[in-house]
Every structure is written in C-alpha cells, then in structure tokens.
C-alpha cells in the first residue's frame, strides 16, 4: 500500500481512520488519531498524529499533521509539525512547511519550502540565548 519503508509509519495498522479507494470526502476532515487516505479528499485535513497518503490518493486540501508520509497527489499547502516523507510517486502542488523532510528520487514538488524549527532546536536556541544574556550581564 505504501512504498516508502519509513519506520515511523510501521504502526499503520493502528490508524484510527481509513479513507479507502472509491471514496470521495468533501469538507473539513479533522481527526485525533492516525489517518490513512487512499481515496479522494477535498477541503482540509488535520490531525495531531500521523497522516499517510497512498499512491493513488488525490487530495485537494490544506494539510496539517504531526508527521506525514505522502505517496500520492496533493494540491494544497502542507504544514507538518515534525517529519515529512515524500515517496517517489508523490506529487505536491503547494507550499510545504515542516521541521524535517526526506524526499525519495522521483517525487515532484511545485511550491515553496520552509523548514520550521523543531521544538528541540527552539529549546536549544533559547538556552544558548539565555547563556549569552547571562554572560553579557557579567
């Protein structure tokens, strides 16, 4: 179902929601657990867990998720809190914001990239800034 062998997506069977092929979803699709999309979706999609978009999926939506593996077509902006993996069959027409990215050879991207600072990096930067401020005050 998903070509990419990213280990973080091995718990695919634990998906709370599966939108199978031959299903068309229209509207604001918001879930709490892992979501798998193999059919069509138009509107928006949001989850605080993982989102997996299958090879034959067609998604015309803005996406917000904690992490995501995309192997299908996405027309819309993608905002991923942690890591985004694009498989070789992924086609993205939209802007991407994420903290980490892996792109397999063959993936097509038409849009802007913004690498967001991860929580850990934010914390480290904050600590460095605090230390600098302390040293300056001395």
């Amino acid at each position: 179902m998903f070509g990419n062998k990213d280990k973080s997506f091995e718990n695919i069977k634990d998906a709370e929601t599966i939108i199978g092929p031959s299903i068309k979803v229209k509207g604001n699709f918001h879930g709490k657990g892992n979501i798998i999309v193999e059919g069509s979706l138009e509107g928006s999609i949001k989850t605080d867990s993982s989102l997996l978009i299958g090879e034959k999926a067609k998604v015309k939506a803005n996406i917000k998720a904690k992490e995501s593996l995309i192997n299908g077509l996405v027309e819309g902006n993608i905002n991923i809190e942690k890591s985004l993996s694009l498989g070789k069959t992924a086609i993205i027409n939209g802007d991407i914001v994420c903290a980490e990215i892996s792109i397999e050879k063959g993936a097509k991207i038409n849009g802007a990239f913004t690498m967001q600072t991860s929580d850990q990096e934010k914390e480290t930067k904050k600590e460095v800034k605090n230390l600098e401020e302390k040293n300056n005050s001395k």
Partner: protein, 248 residues
C-alpha cells in the same frame, strides 16, 4: 426472576424439537422461569413491560435477530426506564443470528451454558432516527448514489457499488474483516465501507441521505427509510455474553 420470551414463529411444528431441547437443558441447569409467547399477545411492549414491573430481572429472548430487536424496543421504552439498570438481556438464538454472533453466542446449546455462567457487559445502544439498534446498521450493495454526512463537518460520496455498515458492536464475522478492534463502550459509531477497498471512520453522528429506494437494516431485522441519522444514545443495556466476548 427469569422471563423467557418466545417469538411467534417458534409455534411452528418444525421448531418443536429445538424448543424441547432448550427447555430440557434449562431445566437441567435449574434456570427455569416464566415463559411468554409473543404469538398470544396483542400488545408485545405492554406485556413485556408488565413483567418487568412485576420483577422480571433477566429477560431471555428465544428466537432470532428480529425477536431481539422487538424486545430491545420494549425494554428501552420510557415506561420501564426506571428498571433498566437492573435488567439483563440474554439471548437463545434458534438460528444463526447477527446479534448472537455479536454477543459471542453461536447456537442455542451454547446459549444455555452462557446464561448459566452469567458473564455480563453493559454497552450503549445506538439509534437510527427513533429506532434502537445494538450491533450494526447496514445497507448492502448500494449503487453509489448515496451521501453520508459526518458530524455536519464533512461528506462522503461513494464512487463504486458498496456495502455500508454503521457499527456499534460488530458481529464476529464482521470483526474479522474490519481493520481495528471496536469498543462498544466508547460512545463512537464506526462507519465501515467495503467496496474496492476498505474505509473505516469513527464518528459520533452520521446522516445517510436519500438514495434510490434504499433501506437501512438495523441488527439484521428492522428496516428504516432514508434519510436517517444515526448516533449513540445515552441508554446502556446489560447483556449476558459469551466468555470470549471482551469489550475494552
């Protein structure tokens, strides 16, 4: 007090042997109780509710899915809502039934032993418009001309001939196919759509809109016209279940 409720179709001669076997087993196990036969009654709801008011605590439904659904409707009526928390439903199926399989009861012989063991579970009952169902609501082989509204926030359209199930407590047969274990205690209904692939969506409220003369079948018995709104009710029912039936 045990109350045995026999459906009217059991009056047919072909069921004599089965009924004799059930009654012999019940006597052997010391589980005798009052018997009411639905074929002799003008008002089924009233007859069952009167027995509950007189102190019937364990209602043993003898029949098929349709029998179970009829009794469920009577028991959940506001007329006996005060007694509901102390009532237990048990099922002796005389044929293969969806509810029997949902409760882990495969046949009438097993059902008598399950009644004796008295392992109980309390689960929420689901509604479809004004009707109740325990296990699942189903539309088989719908031709794609149907839309499903989910919690008023998004809509599902089907592009292929599909079977649609709204599941509260799946039968063993269905549970084997669905991708995730369903807990009928968690206030969610699960939409399971089977066509070229599988779709599985947990939700609190579903509205199935007009289609070409399709009916929604509740617990393999009552048919409901579309459009229809389905959700989990605030009513719990106590059930006597098979030893392998664990809801968690």
């Amino acid at each position: 007090m045990h109350l045995y409720i026999y459906d009217d179709f059991l009056a047919k001669n072909k069921y004599n042997k089965v009924i004799n076997k059930i009654e012999t087993r019940i006597t052997d196990l010391g589980l005798n109780g009052k018997i009411i036969r639905l074929n002799n009654l003008k008002n089924i709801d009233k007859a069952i509710q009167e027995e509950i008011k007189r102190g019937a605590k364990t209602l043993i439904i003898v029949g098929n899915d349709n029998t179970f659904n009829k009794v469920l409707k009577s028991v959940l009526d506001k007329e006996v809502s005060y007694f509901l928390k102390n009532i237990f439903l048990s099922f002796i199926p005389v044929e293969k039934t969806q509810i029997g399989l949902s409760l882990g009861i495969n046949n009438y012989e097993e059902a008598c032993n399950i009644l004796l063991a008295r392992r109980t579970e309390s689960i929420k009952v689901a509604t479809a418009n004004n009707s109740f169902f325990l296990s699942q609501a189903t539309i088989l082989n719908v031709n794609g001309n149907i839309t499903i509204d989910i919690e008023d926030s998004y809509q599902i359209e089907l592009e292929e001939k599909s079977s649609i199930h709204a599941i509260n407590m799946p039968s063993y047969d269905l549970a084997k196919n669905i991708p995730k274990k369903i807990n009928p205690k968690n206030n969610y209904l699960y939409i399971y759509i089977n066509n070229k692939g599988q779709s599985f969506i947990p939700t609190k409220k579903i509205t199935i809109k007009e289609s070409d003369k399709n009916f929604l079948k509740l617990d393999n018995s009552t048919e409901i016209k579309l459009p229809c709104t389905l959700e989990i009710s605030n009513k719990n029912i106590n059930l006597i279940v098979g030893k392998n039936r664990v809801f968690s």
